[in-house]
Amino acid sequence: MSDLIIKLDNMSKVFFADDLETHALNKISLEVAKQEYIAISGPSGSGKSTLLSVLGLLDTATDGHYHLADHLVSNINKTERARIRNREIGFIFQSFNLISDLTVEENVELPLTYRTDLSKSQCKDKVSNALKKVNMLHRVSHYPSQLSGGQQQRVAIARAIAGDPKLILADEPTGNLDSKNAHDVLQLLDELHRDGATICMVTHDPRSAQRAQRNIEVLDGRIVLDQPTTLNNAAVSA
């Protein structure tokens, strides 16, 4: 068993629309180690969100191979992809994507309800632990509309980690937040990383990217830069 959690080989994604081919990803190869914290950056339309979708099994690649935790997942069926998303991956979105009709507790519990291996009490424990980690236990009965943006994103993070995923994928997690809340959310991600989570974060913000161990820059569907970040490394060495 290798230390890699993600291994992409010549991964391509082509969109076809009105006889027009758009190469969102162009033969990307990438390896991410377990417990690594990487930032994916690049200008709009560069392909970073598509890369994250492919990594999160939300979309299928047109070509290439994808190994997730040593399993080839590029050719598996929809049901299996759903199972892996549920068990192995946690998602954090820019616009939080909480279900407005569900309470905080129900939102966090949602991915656990799709599992058959957890009892009701186990689900409750996991929800409580996740909400405790993001310091939102006091708002369990609130609805998303009753929370601030920062609070909503903390709930979204709790939802992402409730099922103990191997990989956390965050798509511009601070994009809709003010600097104070953005700072809090990034700190939460740091804590999760410290606790052993593997995190892939798409971001526009260079300062956010600097919190990762490694920065991958995407342009026109290709990785143009893949290097350790200075700030995080300095922090680590310090």
């Binding site: 979309d59 759903a82 994507n97």
Partner: protein, 810 residues
């Protein structure tokens, strides 16, 4: 200026989406068209006053039997009592309709005559175009025989001669002096071709002779029908107390003339009105949903307008214009459909009668239809436009602009969508149940077993004038001569002569069975049965199954022989387990309570002597030889192999040879005649069938539309759930569960109301509770299927989308 630019903008938007626009317009056209058509149709049939001044105050007086409205005629003496005692009435007249034979140089023909009091013409205040109407002096026995003829008779028999007055017209072989001609299209009070003085009066006709008339009155403006009914009840109660035998159980009630065709069936009529309103609401809900989905689609654009400072009123008016244009265009198409539909209705309803329908049945776009059309149009504009407009402008525009998604607006619209689906299910199950009850009733009625073989039988009628055939011997002699004359004709090998064939209404006197005790005095305490006169061989030729005993034969025509054949239903109802053959039955005549016992010689299968959907369809019958109970009016029929015309000509020749003044009329195939009797129900059934189909299609499309819209609005949510690990089954199950909940919310009250309406109609239409519940079960399964398919297809389509696309769907 704003209005102009708003209209231009709306038209541009509608032109951009021609499919959407065409669908919305068509849905609206069908909703307005169907509902206004049905209201207009029912108005002409049931509520529209006769086309004369004060026509809304014309009232008919009928008798009831033991509280049951049987539309019976009044004893002339009772009529006079009513005339003397009834208040709140300005004019009261009596008349009697009858079919007569008129003969002139132009030939012999059968026409409808009204024998009436002289004041019958004062109701309509119509003057003859030539001559005069009759006077009170001519309305007496012994007065010269005079007649006022109708325009059509004048044209057809007298070629419109100007010197028509004082010419002689033979009516039932009696010469009458023509004293006037009424205007074209004047048939008052029903479908009269000529009018004669009634001539019966209480000084000359005894109460026991039971001369029967119809009462007609003009009520005062401040007197209601309810008040008249209260007075009639008291008058008839007094008469019953005074004449306990003759008037036992006989009451009287008032009815507007156009209600006659629906008396007893008003539950069906009102239910049809409810169905018409429901279909309009269903169409409005559908169009409202289409407009709502457009409003949701354009929420971003609306949010930008709000951000740019557009006032709320302006936003609402912009959205309302869309509704105004769609409803107006749909309404216009609907109005054209109504006009066409009413024209077709006129043609179809004319076929309900062999002569002509009631003269006030004039279908077309009249003032009532137009008023209703504009009222419905306004209502649909408000229903379809205002709700989406208000929903649209009251959304969280900040959220929409900030997120670039449907945000809060989508959520609110989602709630409304659920209500729309529930509403559509509720409306469609209700309409479908109502439609299904009438369709089942019509199907049962058209496929009913009348108790006889009705195929390949030619039927015709003949009416013996009572002045010429005034004794039983003369009537019997006519029939015997006719039988002898037709004996050699091969087409009449299976000659049938009867006062009524199965499917036709017969005389229904009270009867008594030997050995039975009847608790009260008077006729009302005795059971009533169909009493049918038949010639020997008729029951056998009609293939009415013999269960016991024998059919009639020539021995039954011997003098002082009194025999009857009863139906199995008679035995079941009145004789328990007794052996019927040899028992005796007594028919209690209306005029005199003669004690003439007749011996049962045979038992036959039950025959239906009315429309099969009527409650009287189960009434037992007794058959008696024509020689023992001769009648004026009879049906002459025979089973034929080929065309009807040669057989009819042979019959005509035979009758004319016996009596040149007699006319054979209503010559047609037996099954065609029965189909004609059922034509009104079949027509209503077809209309309701169309309503049911329309509601099913509208509901199906509507529910599909709402579900598609809901799923589009929830695509992002689906994307989130799939990102969190929900697989296709989880999502599908969730949507199916949600649809099932909506289905139940709409279905349960819809079934409740639909079954209640169906139950209200079931008695009139002879549909059992079991049938009603079976229909409800079938419709429930059908509608559940529609809802689940309407959920499955758009959900499946959404699930085919990659989760990442769903997440970023806008």
């Amino acid at each position: 200026m704003h209005i102009y630019s708003d209209i231009k903008y709306t038209l541009r938007g509608l032109a951009k989406k021609p499919g959407f626009s065409a669908l919305a317009i068509l849905v609206m056209a069908s909703g307005i068209g169907l509902s206004v058509y049905l209201f207009s149709f029912m108005n002409v049939m049931l509520f529209k006053p006769m086309p004369f001044e004060g026509g809304e105050r014309f009232i008919q007086v009928f008798t009831s039997q033991n509280g049951s409205r049987i539309q019976g005629m009044l004893n002339l003496h009772d009529y006079h009592e009513i005339k003397q005692n009834l208040t709140g009435v300005s004019t009261l007249s009596a008349y009697r309709n009858q079919t007569v034979t008129v003969s002139q140089q132009g030939g012999t023909r059968r026409v409808e005559a009204t024998d009436s009091r002289a004041n019958i013409f004062s109701f309509t205040q119509t003057q003859p175009i030539i001559g005069r109407t009759f006077s009170e002096a001519e309305d007496k026995v012994g007065a010269p025989r005079v007649v006022v003829i109708g325009y059509e008779l004048w044209q057809n028999m007298f070629a419109g001669q100007a010197n028509i007055l004082n010419q002689s017209l033979r009516i039932d072989n009696e010469p009458h002096q023509i004293i006037g001609v009424m205007p074209e299209d004047y048939f008052f009070p029903y479908n009269a071709d000529l009018w004669r003085p009634l001539r019966d009066n209480i000084e000359q006709v005894s109460r026991e002779a039971n001369a029967q008339v119809r009462g007609l009155l003009l009520r005062d403006e401040d007197t209601s029908i309810t008040e008249l009914n209260q007075q009639l009840k008291l008058i008839m109660q007094r008469l019953e107390a005074r004449y306990p035998t003759a008037n036992n159980g006989i009451g009287a009630y008032a009815l507007t003339p156009n209600m006659i065709s629906a008396d007893g069936g008003m539950a069906v009529a009102y239910t049809m009105h409810i169905a018409a309103v429901l279909i309009l609401i269903l169409a409005s809900v559908n169009v409202g949903n289409l407009l709502l989905s457009r409003a949701v689609e354009r929420s971003h654009e609306t949010a930008i307008r709000v951000a740019l400072g557009a006032p709320k009123g302006r936003l609402i008016s912009q959205l309302l214009w869309e509704s105004i244009i769609i409803c107006s265009l749909g309404g216009f198409i609907g109005l054209c459909m109504i006009g066409w539909g009413l024209e077709v209705t006129q043609v179809i309803t004319n076929q309900f009668y062999t002569d002509r329908p009631p003269f006030w049945w004039q279908f077309g776009i009249d003032a009532y239809t137009l008023k209703l059309f504009f009222a419905f149009l306004l209502a649909t504009i408000l229903i379809t436009g205002l709700l989406p407009a208000l929903k649209s402008v009251n959304g969280d525009f900040n959220a929409v602009l900030r997120d670039g998604t449907r945000g809060a607006l989508g959520k609110n619209a989602g709630r409304l969508n659920k209500l729309l689906v529930i509403g559509e299910i509720f409306l469609s199950i209700t309409i479908l149940l109502v439609a299904a009850v009438i369709i089942i009733a019509s199907k049962k009625a058209t496929e009913a077993n009348y108790g006889a073989n009705i195929d390949n039988v030619m039927v015709s009628r003949v009416q013996l004038p009572d002045n010429q055939y005034d004794t039983a011997e003369r009537k019997v002699a006519f029939v015997n001569t006719l039988k002898a004359s037709l004996a050699s004709a091969p087409q009449f090998k299976q000659l049938i002569i009867a006062s009524a064939l199965p499917g036709m209404i017969s005389h229904r006197p009270s009867i008594a069975v030997e050995g039975k005790e009847y608790i009260q005095q008077g006729k009302a305490s005795y059971p009533r049965v169909n009493h049918i006169a038949v010639s020997a061989g008729s029951l056998k030729h009609l293939e009415i199954g013999l269960i016991a005993g024998r059919y009639f034969n020539l021995a039954d025509d011997q003098p002082n022989t009194h025999t009857v054949i009863v139906t199995q239903s008679f035995v079941t109802q009145f004789m328990n387990t007794e052996q019927p053959i040899g028992k005796r039955v007594r028919v209690i005549n209306d005029s005199t309570d003669t004690l003439q016992w007749a011996t049962i010689v045979g038992v036959v299968e039950h025959t239906i002597q009315t429309r099969p959907n009527r409650i009287e369809a189960s009434m037992p019958s007794i058959f008696q030889p024509y020689s023992q109970t001769p009648r004026d009016s009879m049906v002459i029929a025979t089973r034929i192999n080929g065309k009807i015309t040669p057989t009819a000509n042979t019959l005509r020749q035979a009758v004319q040879t016996i009596d040149p003044q007699l006319a054979i009329y209503h010559v047609e195939l037996y099954n065609a005649a029965l189909a004609r009797y059922m034509a009104p129900l079949a027509f209503v059934s077809n209309i309701l069938g169309l309503f049911g189909l329309a509601s099913f299609v509208l509901a199906g499309c509507g529910i599909y539309g709402v579900m598609s819209n809901t799923i589009v609005q929830r695509l992002q949510e689906m994307g989130v759930k799939r990102a969190l690990g929900a697989n296709e089954h989880h999502i599908m199950r969730e949507f199916m569960y949600s649809s099932t909940k909506q289905l139940l919310w709409g279905l349960i009250p819809g079934l409740g109301i639909g079954i209640a309406l169906g139950f209200a109609m079931s008695t009139t239409l002879n549909v059992s509770l079991f049938e009603l519940l079976s229909i409800a079960c079938i419709l429930t399964v059908g509608l559940a299927g529609v809802v689940l398919i309407a959920t499955y297809i758009p959900t499946k389509r959404a699930l085919d989308m990659e989760p990442s696309h769903a997440l970023h769907y806008q």
